[in-house]
Symmetry: C2
Subunit: 467 residues, 2 copies
């Protein structure tokens, strides 16, 4: 029974909290499909609530499709089968594509820059220089905050010394950044706001911490401020998780005005902003100006997380964070107790790679290649899919988030399966919502893994399926 | 108030649960030193318990030194100052020593093999071979379970194919192993058993998961079985965390009989054994036979975690796990949502390093060097400190765990500070216990960072302080 225990909040009806809690258990697989839910009497005793409260909770679960009643026997959990199966198939497909060296798939789901020619000789050069320069130190040193050289380079080349090396913490990629800051600041029943839709890996972390997750819709210039403000006024919020540029999956970026407004709210209502800056290097439309929450933050409210894995080399597993002074010690302790430190050699190699200007050159080349692909994808969608989908141009990043026209009777999970049969790999919208139905009409396609001719082929195939 | 909410368990008096919870909050720093605790009425309302229950809880906290009462004003939290300050000083000293290339310290606290000459040319050779062989794949591939080549090598060279490559999961060091398996199997209020004393980094992870931690004393042949059995009989246990060889900090290893007994209990009472195997390569006494829990496990109960950081190169951040079939999927998902995957290049380099036999050669050399140091340290303690401390010979590993004779009026935290003044760095026992007083008479010294002449010098200094 222990899994069913709940810390009730005052402001929300208990039956809703119970239903939400059980839904979570089902989604996380802790209650299995067709597992019997506790008898009403037993659960009401256990939670010290009325029988009616449990009845209402079970009814709500039924309405949402997470439970079925069997007459004379009780209520049973129902896995949202399509979704779980879908997630598994999606992950499996990813693995398969990664393992096949020359993929037969047209991959519109990948989100890393690994398909662009990378000048390996530069990397070989820096890694050998590091080994010759630092010797065994490059392999034995465990620096909690990260290699000081790399932290200095990040400060100098990416922040013009505005953020100092002492304030930079190296992490093993942005996912780890989200994990360790959450361990440092989020406790059971703390409230977190996310964009809707959002990145699933972040949701996973917040659920691990036992957080209550609130969402507000993502719009073309950032999260819906009205809904956002309503949430922060009514609930004591610990943090807001945002992808400020080319939000995943919508591709939208925040306006200056919205960033300023949210920073003000953070100060007024005392919460942190976790800014996941994963793709801001890829701005193609000059209307999109780069100004991170972090750079606009005057009150030390922003936890800035930068991934190098999306734009650079995913396999090196590097990123960095800049966190508010107040929580520096807690985040550092969180890093130690998560994985001690990040691989030292890779940090030293990246440092030298940046110092020698290879990073800059590589990103410049990448932008040229990707700008072309971006245009091809945008034009092809407009050209071929024009009556079948609607979308907003992101102005950069990897992805386009497309809404299937209501005249077309297919939902994104079906579209995923049909595309997969034709060896086209897309990301169905259902993956990005806590309530998967909200994504039924959306899908995401990106070009990071796919050359121009294949982009056209792939979209042709999607077009045929939509017909 | 939210931080104060508790899921009460039935079997334990509420006032104890409340005191324990508040103690946790204080230890974690969530309640600050001298922060006022909630008024009795307010907390009793909030938790729906009697006023008396809160009074008893605050009294207990006072007795344990976590609260003080100020007449007419209420109760105030009390940080166990020495302990918090001590931990900070200990960590700071670690950092300082790591950063000073030629240390002025005699380091008896370090626990990695980084001070032994490492044949860097072999490593340079394998890393270049990998780059030439795999090209950019070595930098872009993200394999959740880890690089298949390394997993095959681990299966072949370390397990004689008894554990298969498919069952091996590469992690970024053992600390991460503990973190991700805990996320996969431990939920709020789950019960975990640990050895007393134990590794602080593991305790941290279990506390993050909101676990209830039970402890039983570590003896010369493993955990006290009577106490252990009492706990598993009375409480539904999720897992038992153990360091089967050269337990940290006691240095003791499990007898065959105790391992078998615990495996039986795990099957009977349905819990997992998390086996942290971090130093079993360093067996010097032939009476110590290597047989991991994992190798004796017939019921798929053992989560085996192997660190390469202690014995090999800490800066490469690699280790691996073998987990029970039942939880494989959950652990894999946990890995993805923690840091996606582990650095691919380092895995490939280690793989080739093993295949070429360099690993074997290195470990053999290491054992020779360390065996000498082990003997020197053991003899010097027996020789110089004989009337001042008592200890059991571990028969291997890095560390000796010494008990200060009761005739000597110094406690281990004071000893730590005094040693530090003399540039000798030891690990005071108070670091390894949940209730730090339990470690007042113990300290740990190890030779992994310290050559023979310095071992003698260091122990001479400790001797003078104890006099």
């Amino acid at each position: 029974m222990k899994a069913y225990s709940i810390d009730f909040l005052e402001e929300i009806p208990k039956y809703i909290q119970i239903a939400r809690h059980i839904k979570n258990l089902i989604e996380l697989g802790e209650i299995k499909d067709e597992e019997k839910l506790p008898p009403i009497r037993k659960l009401s005793d256990f939670l010290s609530v009325n029988n009616d409260t449990i009845v209402s909770a079970y009814k709500k679960l039924e309405q949402e499709g997470y439970a079925v009643q069997k007459i004379g026997s009780g209520s049973y959990a129902k896995q949202k089968d399509t979704n779980r199966r879908l997630r598994r198939e999606y992950t499996e497909t990813f693995k398969r594509i990664r393992n096949e060296s020359s993929s037969k798939y047209i991959d519109f789901a990948g989100e890393t820059s690994c398909n662009v020619v990378f000048p390996m000789e530069n990397f070989k050069e820096v890694i050998n220089e590091v080994i010759d320069r630092d010797g065994v130190n490059a392999l034995v040193n465990q620096e909690t905050l990260g290699y000081i050289g790399l932290r200095r380079s990040i400060s100098k080349y990416f922040w013009n010394d505005k953020s100092r090396a002492e304030d930079i913490l190296i992490v093993s990629g942005a996912q780890q950044g989200i994990d360790i800051v959450s361990k440092a600041i989020i406790n059971v029943n703390d409230n977190v706001i996310v964009e809707k839709p959002t990145y699933n890996g972040a949701l996973f972390v917040f659920k691990w911490r036992g957080a209550n997750i609130f969402e507000a819709n993502m719009e073309n210039d950032g999260i819906n401020l009205e809904a956002f403000e309503k949430i922060v006024k009514k609930n004591s919020i610990k943090c807001f998780y945002t992808m400020s540029y080319f939000q995943n999956p919508t591709g939208m970026s925040y306006s200056y005005a919205k960033k300023i407004e949210i920073l003000k709210l953070a100060e007024k209502y005392d919460f942190y902003i976790i800014e996941d800056d994963y793709l801001s290097e890829l701005i193609f439309d000059e209307k999109v100006k780069y100004q991170s929450f972090k750079s606009l933050d005057e009150n030390d409210r922003v936890v800035y997380i930068k991934s190098f894995s999306k734009i650079f080399l995913p396999g090196i597993r590097l990123g960095y964070m800049i966190v508010p002074k107040k929580i520096e010690e807690a985040v550092e302790s969180s890093k130690v107790n998560t994985d001690i430190s990040t691989s030292s050699l890779m940090q030293r190699a990246l440092d030298l790679y940046i110092i020698k200007g290879y990073w800059r050159d590589y990103i410049q080349n990448l932008k040229i290649t990707y700008n072309k692909r971006y245009k091809v994808m945008e034009d092809t969608i407009k050209d071929i899919l024009k009556d079948k989908v609607s979308f907003n141009s992101p102005g950069g990043g990897f992805n386009f988030y497309l809404k299937i026209d209501k005249s077309i009777g297919i939902e994104s999970d079906k579209l995923f399966y049909k595309c997969k049969q034709k060896k086209v790999f897309i990301s169905p919208g259902v993956l990005f919502y806590r309530n998967s139905e909200d994504g039924a009409k959306f899908f995401r396609i990106g070009y990071s893994q796919t050359e121009e001719t294949k982009i056209k082929q792939g979209i042709e195939i999607i077009n045929k399926i939509l017909e």
